[in-house]
């Protein structure tokens, strides 16, 4: 089976450091003391929490409902009690917190009622929705909801389905171990994707430094009787980038601002295929994943870890050396130091590297760019990092976009080769987030402007309407007055002149009189009503009195009478003085 492979430009060969963690088989990590499950674990809308504090949850129970189509559900990783639904620190370079569900496990690890999903008889839409409800997302690192990638393009026929088992980043071996130990389930998961997308062929790309994984996959493909091709690809970072792997396997280059589906290619990670199969065949939503724990630890190996496990508890299983001073989530090229050791493992966590200064010596200070062009030669996307660097540094973001900064996949090849040790990727990330912030601000400003203009327009309209109404009322008033004046003149005329001239005016005056009388009558009626109301409003608490109260009142009245009769003389006396 000879296959013509293609090459992508650039790439680097960092020390792979993978052998440390492949010696031991996958171990299942014990249930931790508590689980912090962030709701926002995939690209797209933040799922809404559907549990409350105090709720008992079972393993696999829905705790976050997908918000919109590009969003995936979140499930309880084990059975237990919800002890908080609040903001928790996230495994994110910002160190900020986000909405999370905190679960105290009860140790039973009791599953919900798991039902396999009969996908062969289900409509493709139903399968996609089922995968969304099961929380299946891309586990290669980008965590894009998988169901969103399973709709074939209507115009372009699906040529190739690329399954990404390259795992190019140093230190990480979780996909390697997954393929070695669970190849059959991976292949069956690939079968689901194949059935949904109906490509002409399926290519499973595995870097040639993982011969055991490739062998296991080949065996599994044969055992199941599929016609997938397992293709070893040359080990070159970042061969595992989606666009790079597509390039290597199919020779197709995905242009900027286009999706691979526009060229008839779609790409999935092997771990994604595995979780999709678990969800379909076993009714198990994504509640755990494989994580490589390596670096400055005594026994590096791969663990099957519940989502939400605190990283420090997981790291302790591998016995970190005492000089460990941090945890890197992801690989050394694209990963970042987590802000706190206790942040949870999420669906995007493929690797934890215990950090120390021997393994990752502090970077020497940044020197000026000497325009050597090494970064441009290393860039797998054929960008010009040095140009983007200057413009990012000068905060000239328009220019960085002209140099296609948004095509940068932040793989870190440029920073890796830079002889001046410039942290190029940091500059690009800075520029990208500034551009996004500006975009948001611009949109907000445009929205505010249209709302302001609409408010002004509405006020004008209301003013005009009011003026119109007033004008109408004034016109009616004027017309009435004119009519009255005319009527008065007419009645005068009838008074002065005798019968013949007055006859046409007479009905008008009668009408006016009748109108007047009616008006008077209504006024009279209103006054009557007001009087009646006043009368009704008189105090009424003196009507039902007991005999004793009546007697008291009579006594008081009598005293008052007596006093009144006695006072006048004195008063008159005073007055006379």
């Amino acid at each position: 089976m000879l296959m013509n492979l293609f090459k992508f430009k650039g790439g680097v060969k960092p020390p792979t450091n993978k052998t440390q963690s492949v010696g031991l088989p996958i171990a299942v990590a014990p249930i931790p003391s508590r689980l912090v499950v962030p709701l926002h674990q995939s690209i797209g809308g933040t799922p809404r929490p559907v549990v409350q504090v105090g709720d008992k949850v079972l393993k696999g129970q829905l705790i976050g409902e997908a918000d919109g189509w590009i969003s995936a559900a979140v499930h309880a990783p084990t059975s237990g009690t919800v002890i908080a639904v609040d903001m928790q620190v996230q495994p994110h370079p910002s160190g900020l917190d986000a909405m999370s569900v905190v679960i105290e496990p009860d140790g039973q690890d009791q599953w919900i009622d798991r039902q396999p999903f009969d996908y062969t008889n289900a409509a493709p839409e139903a399968v996609r929705e089922y995968l969304q409800q099961s929380g299946v997302v891309g586990l290669g690192g980008a965590v894009f909801p998988t169901h969103g990638k399973l709709t074939p393009s209507k115009t372009v026929p699906m040529e190739e389905l690329v399954i990404n088992g390259a795992e190019c980043e140093p230190f990480i071996t979780c996909d390697d171990l997954l393929m070695r130990e669970r190849a059959e389930e991976v292949v069956r998961g690939v079968g689901i994707f194949r059935d949904l997308l109906k490509p002409k062929k399926v290519l499973i790309g595995i870097e040639d430094n993982k011969p055991e994984a490739a062998e296991a996959m080949r065996a599994a493909v044969q055992a199941i009787g599929e016609d997938f091709e397992v293709v070893p690809v040359p080990t070159l970072y970042p061969a595992g980038g989606a666009k790079q792997l597509i390039r290597v396997l199919t020779g197709k280059e995905v242009p900027a601002a286009k999706r691979s589906t526009d060229l008839g290619v779609q790409c999935f990670n092997v771990a994604t295929a595995y979780t999709a199969w678990r969800a379909i065949a076993h009714g198990e939503p994504v509640v755990s994943r494989l994580v490589t724990v390596t670096g400055n630890v005594h026994t590096p190996r791969n663990y099957e870890v519940l989502i939400g496990t605190p990283m420090d508890e997981l790291l302790d299983l591998a016995q970190p050396n005492p000089d460990t001073d941090g945890i890197i989530m992801g690989g050394p090229m694209m990963g970042f130091l987590v802000p706190e050791r206790s942040v949870p493992v999420v669906k995007a966590t493929n690797c934890l590297i215990a950090h120390n200064e021997r393994l990752f010596p502090p970077k020497a200070p940044e020197m000026p760019c000497i325009r050597c062009g090494s970064c441009a030669r290393a860039c797998p996307h054929e960008l010009q990092p040095f140009e983007m660097y200057w413009f990012s540094r000068a905060k000239n973001f328009g220019k960085t976009q002209e140099y296609h900064i948004f095509d940068c996949i932040e793989c870190g090849c440029c920073s890796f080769v830079c002889p001046s040790r410039i942290p190029l990727v940091q500059y690009f990330r800075f520029a990208k987030s500034e551009i996004w912030a500006r975009e948001r601000e611009k949109n907000a400003a445009d929205g505010a402007k249209t709302r302001f203009e609409f408010k002004q327009f509405r006020e004008e309209r209301e003013k005009a309407e009011k003026a119109e109404k007033l004008a109408k009322a004034a016109a009616a008033q004027a017309a009435k007055k004119a009519a009255e004046a005319a009527a008065a003149a007419a009645s005068e005329n009838t008074g002065e002149n005798a019968a013949p001239a007055g006859e046409p005016a007479a009905p008008a005056s009668v009408a006016v009189d009748a109108e007047k009388a009616a008006k008077m009558a209504t006024i009279q009626a209103a006054m009557e009503r007001a009087k009646a109301q006043r009368a009704a409003a008189q105090p009424k608490n003196t009507e039902t009195l007991s005999a004793a109260q009546q007697k008291d009142i009579d006594d008081i009245e009598a005293r008052r009478q007596a006093a009144l009769s006695s006072v006048p003389p004195a008063e008159s006396g005073e007055k006379t003085e």
Partner: protein, 190 residues
């Protein structure tokens, strides 16, 4: 004779060119002032009136007529910089103090439902009705503070927008040299 012909040709040319210019000025007439629109696009559209004009558009018009470019506090120093770039004027320090982005928040316990703030809000970001509690739609609030003075019970306060994972930005990787330390090192050197 020749001289008459020459004059006639020149006159004919003048007439033709004049007619085509006149036609072009009608045919390709630009509605409104494009410069004002460009300035308006830079202004932050908070409609706060802190510049002394009733809204961003009037201020944009005034800038086009020669008004100073440093009177927009919500636009900040960066806004002044962009206006200066657009207009080819000199960058001036902002005429007021620059504040972090804020939004208004109504204390719903104290609100008496007088609707005065609703009338004051330039972007219709406040919902409520007479004698009903009002509230501010946070996404639409521009932080213009125009609702603060009309409130009779002072139940509106301004709060800076908190940083979340969604609006967090990567920091500028260059460590900036602060003027104080520079001054100190200068002193040491001396």
């Amino acid at each position: 004779m020749e001289i008459v012909l020459a004059i006639a040709i020149m006159a004919l040319g003048a007439v033709v060119l004049g007619a085509s210019l006149g036609f072009a000025s009608i045919k390709f007439k630009v509605e409104g002032d494009p410069l004002v629109d460009k300035i308006d696009a830079i202004l932050p559209q908070t409609q706060c009136g802190q510049c002394g004009y009733p809204g961003c558009k009037p201020y944009a018009e005034a800038i086009a007529k020669g008004e100073e470019i440093n009177k927009c506090p919500p636009g900040g120093a960066e806004g002044v910089q962009r206006l200066a770039d657009l207009l080819g004027r000199e960058v001036k320090p902002l005429d007021a103090e620059e504040k972090p982005k804020q939004i208004a928040i109504i204390d719903e316990q104290t609100c008496i439902g007088c609707t005065l703030c609703i009338q004051a809000c330039p972007v219709d970001a406040i919902v409520g009705a007479a004698k009903q509690m009002h509230t501010i739609v946070a996404q639409l609030c521009t932080g213009c503070e125009l609702c603060l003075p009309p409130c009779p019970v002072e139940c509106i306060r301004m709060e800076p927008i908190a940083e979340t994972i969604d609006n967090w930005k990567w920091k500028y990787p260059v460590v900036e040299i602060k003027p104080e330390s520079a001054a100190a090192s200068m002193k040491e050197a001396a």
